[in-house]
C-alpha cells in the first residue's frame, strides 16, 4: 500500500552559489551570511545542498576547489552545531581525490545503487530508548572489511573535480519516507508515530544481523532496512553497482539468488545488481525498482566545482557517473555515535522525518 501523493516523499535539494568574496577569504568572511545559514537549515531539515564553488574563476584547480570545499563544509558544520543540535564532537573528514570511477569490467559508466557512505558503521538507527535489540550500543553493522576509517558518517558529500565524459547525476532518497510506506504495506495501516517506525527499523536491522552468515553483506541494503525476510534482499552487489555481480560466497550460500539476478519482477532492469534491487523493493514497497525511482528519487546534475552534501543516515544516495569522473569525498562524522548529544540530534531527525511524510496521516 502506497499513498498517491509524493508530497514530502522526495528529498528537497537546494543549490547555493557560494559568493566569490567569501571564497577569497573564508576565515575573514565569518559565518553570518544568509546563504550559509539557509544551507545549514536546509541540511538540518532533511534536505540536500549543492554548493557551487567555482566563484568568479573560469577554471580553478582541483587543489583550490578542495580547499574551498573544506572551508565551506567546516563553516556549515559549525553552524549545524551552533543552531541545529549537531553533536559538539562532530568533525569534517576529507578523503583523497579519487583516481576515477570503478565500473563493471570494460564499462563506460556506472549506476551506483542507493547506499550510505561508510555504511558498515553509518546507517539510520532508532533512538536508544526505542531500541529493543542492543543495536544502538555501537551502531556497527560489520567491522572486518572497510575502505578507510570506521567513523560514523552523519552527512556525506563529495566535491566534483572532474565530471568526466558526461555530466553525472546524483540521486537522493528519503529513507524515513520509504520506511513509512514499507511499514504501511506490511501492517496494513500507517505508523501512528515515529516510534513505531523506529521499532520497525530496529527489528529489520536485527534481522539482517541475524542473517549475516547467510547473506555475507557488509552493508544494510534497501531491502533489509525495509524489512524483507529473504536473505537475497540483504545482499549488496559489488560496487554497489547496478551492472555488477554478487560475491561467489553469496551465490553459494543463497542458491535462490541465481534465479533472482537473472530476471526481475518488472523485466526492465539491467544488470544483476539492479535486478536484485528490483526484487527487494517489490517485496517491501510493492514497487519495482523503476517505480521506486519514480516515486522517491530527487536528482541533481553535478558540475565541476559542485560540492554535494546530504544526510547520510536519513537519506540514501545513488549516482550515475562516467568512468573517468573524479571526486573528493568529504563527510561530517563522529567517532562514536552514542551519548545524549547524538541522541538529541537523532531525535530531531526522526521527529521531522516523520512530520515530512505527513505524520500519522
Amino acid at each position: 500500500m502506497t499513498t498517491e501523493t509524493t508530497e514530502g516523499v522526495r528529498v528537497e535539494v537546494l543549490k547555493t552559489w557560494v559568493p566569490a568574496s567569501w571564497l577569497a577569504d573564508p576565515d575573514g568572511g565569518g559565518l553570518d551570511h544568509s546563504w550559509l545559514g539557509d544551507a545549514a537549515a536546509h541540511l538540518a531539515g532533511g534536505g540536500s545542498v549543492t554548493f557551487a564553488l567555482r566563484g568568479d574563476d573560469a577554471e580553478p584547480t582541483s587543489t583550490e576547489l578542495i580547499v574551498r570545499a573544506k572551508a565551506a563544509l567546516a563553516a556549515v558544520t559549525t553552524l549545524l552545531k551552533e543552531r541545529h543540535a549537531l553533536p559538539a564532537d562532530a568533525y569534517v573528514e576529507v578523503d583523497e581525490e579519487s583516481y576515477g570511477t570503478p565500473t563493471a569490467p570494460e564499462g563506460r559508466s556506472r549506476f551506483l545503487l542507493p547506499h550510505q557512505d561508510g555504511a558498515h558503521s553509518s546507517f539510520l538507527t532508532p533512538r536508544a530508548v526505542n531500541d529493543r535489540h542492543g543495536i544502538t550500543e555501537t551502531r556497527v553493522y560489520s567491522n572486518t572489511v572497510f575502505f578507510k576509517r570506521p567513523s560514523h558518517k552523519m552527512y556525506q558529500g563529495f566535491l566534483i573535480t572532474r565530471p568526466g565524459k558526461f555530466p553525472g547525476e546524483t540521486y537522493y532518497y528519503d529513507l524515513i519516507a520509504m520506511l513509512h510506506d514499507a511499514y504501511a504495506r506490511r501492517t496494513g495501516h500507517p505508523p501512528r508515530d515515529a516510534v513505531e517506525l523506529e521499532l520497525f527499523l530496529g527489528d529489520n536491522i536485527a534481522r539482517s544481523l541475524e542473517l549475516a552468515d547467510v547473506h555475507r553483506s557488509r552493508y544494510l541494503t534497501v531491502g533489509s532496512l525495509l524489512g524483507s525476510e529473504h536473505p537475497a534482499h540483504h545482499v549488496l552487489p559489488s560496487g554497489p553497482r547496478a551492472e555488477s555481480e554478487l560475491w561467489p560466497e553469496q551465490y553459494a550460500s543463497i542458491p535462490d539468488i541465481w534465479r533472482q539476478v537473472e530476471a526481475c519482477p518488472c523485466g526492465l532492469c539491467e544488470g544483476p545488481g539492479a535486478r536484485l534491487m528490483c526484487h527487494g523493493v517489490t517485496a517491501t514497497l510493492g514497487l519495482s525498482w523503476p517505480q521506486t525511482r519514480a516515486r522517491y528519487e530527487a536528482a541533481v546534475t553535478g558540475e565541476r566545482g559542485d560540492l554535494l552534501i546530504g544526510n547520510n543516515l536519513t537519506q540514501k544516495h545513488a549516482a550515475f557517473s562516467a568512468r573517468d569522473r573524479q571526486i573528493c569525498p568529504v563527510c561530517v562524522v563522529v567517532d562514536t555515535p552514542v551519548g545524549p548529544e547524538y541522541e538529541a540530534w537523532l531525535d530531531q531527525q526522526w521527529t521531522q522525518g516523520f512530520d515530512r511524510v505527513g505524520g500519522a496521516r
Binding site: 573544506k70 567546516a74 568533525y91 569534517v92 573528514e93 576529507v94 578523503d95 583523497e96 579519487s98 583516481y99 576515477g100 570511477t101 570503478p102 565500473t103 563493471a104 569490467p105 570494460e106 564499462g107 572486518t144 572489511v145 572497510f146 575502505f147 578507510k148 576509517r149 559489488s238 560496487g239 555488477s244 555481480e245 554478487l246 560475491w247 561467489p248 560466497e249 551465490y251 553459494a252 542458491p255 541465481w258 568512468r323 573524479q326 571526486i327 569525498p329
Partner: protein, 201 residues
C-alpha cells in the same frame, strides 16, 4: 565460480585452480571446494588480516585477487594447455567469467575510495598473467588436474547431491603440501601509500 561454464571437466579444473592458489597464499586460509546440487562450484577462502594495518590489508587483497582469477587461469593453462602471453582484459574476462573477474575487481577497489577502473583492469590482467605462469609449471598443472579429477569423480558418484573436496582431507592435504608456488603476488597498479589516513578538521 563461473556462470558461463563449458562442461564438467573444465569446471572441475576451474575450481581446483582456486583451491591450489588459495592454499599457496600465506595471507589466506582455504577450506573446501564445493560442487553444489544447484550446479555451481565454489571454494571457501578466509583471511585473518587486520585491515587497520595497511601492509597486511594490501597483502590479503593481493592474495584474494590471485585466488579470484585462478579458476580462469587454470582453465586456460591446465585444461586447454595454452600458455598465455599477451592477453587482453576481454580475454581474461572470458576465462574467469564475470563473477570471478568482478570479485577480483571488488577486492582491488577496497584499497581506496574510487580507484581508476583502468588501473583495476590492468592489475587484474597482470595478476592473471602471474597466476597463469605459476600454474603452467608441470608439477603444478599435474596437481591441479589430480585435484580436479577427484572433485569430478565425486560429482559423478553422487549426481544429485552437493559434493566437497576439503583441503584438510589427508590425501588432499598431502597433495597440496607438495605444491611449489609463490606465497604472494605483487600489486603494482592500484596500491596507494596512504591507505587509511584522512585529513580531519
Amino acid at each position: 565460480m563461473k556462470r558461463e561454464h563449458d562442461g564438467p571437466v573444465a569446471l572441475s579444473v576451474h575450481e581446483a585452480g582456486h583451491l591450489v592458489i588459495a592454499h599457496s597464499q600465506e595471507a589466506l586460509t582455504v577450506g573446501e571446494s564445493i560442487w553444489s546440487d544447484q550446479g555451481f562450484t565454489y571454494t571457501n577462502v578466509g583471511s585473518e588480516a587486520d585491515w587497520t594495518k595497511p601492509a597486511e590489508k594490501v597483502r590479503s587483497i593481493a592474495a584474494q585477487v590471485a585466488v579470484a582469477v585462478a579458476g580462469g587461469a587454470a582453465e586456460l593453462v591446465v585444461h586447454r594447455g595454452v600458455l598465455p602471453e599477451e592477453l587482453t582484459v576481454e580475454d581474461v574476462l572470458a576465462e574467469t567469467g564475470s563473477i570471478d573477474f568482478q570479485l577480483a575487481q571488488e577486492w582491488l577497489a577496497l584499497q581506496r575510495h574510487d580507484p581508476s577502473q583502468d588501473a583495476i583492469e590492468a592489475e587484474v590482467l597482470d595478476v592473471f598473467h602471474l597466476v597463469a605462469a605459476a600454474l603452467a609449471d608441470r608439477g603444478t598443472s599435474a596437481l591441479v588436474s589430480e585435484l580436479a579429477d577427484r572433485l569430478l569423480a565425486r560429482r559423478r558418484r553422487e549426481e544429485n547431491g552437493t559434493v566437497r573436496l576439503g583441503s584438510t582431507e589427508p590425501e588432499v592435504a598431502a597433495l597440496l603440501a607438495g605444491a611449489r608456488l609463490p606465497a604472494e603476488y605483487p600489486l603494482t597498479r592500484t596500491t596507494t601509500a596512504n591507505l587509511i589516513s584522512v585529513t580531519t578538521h
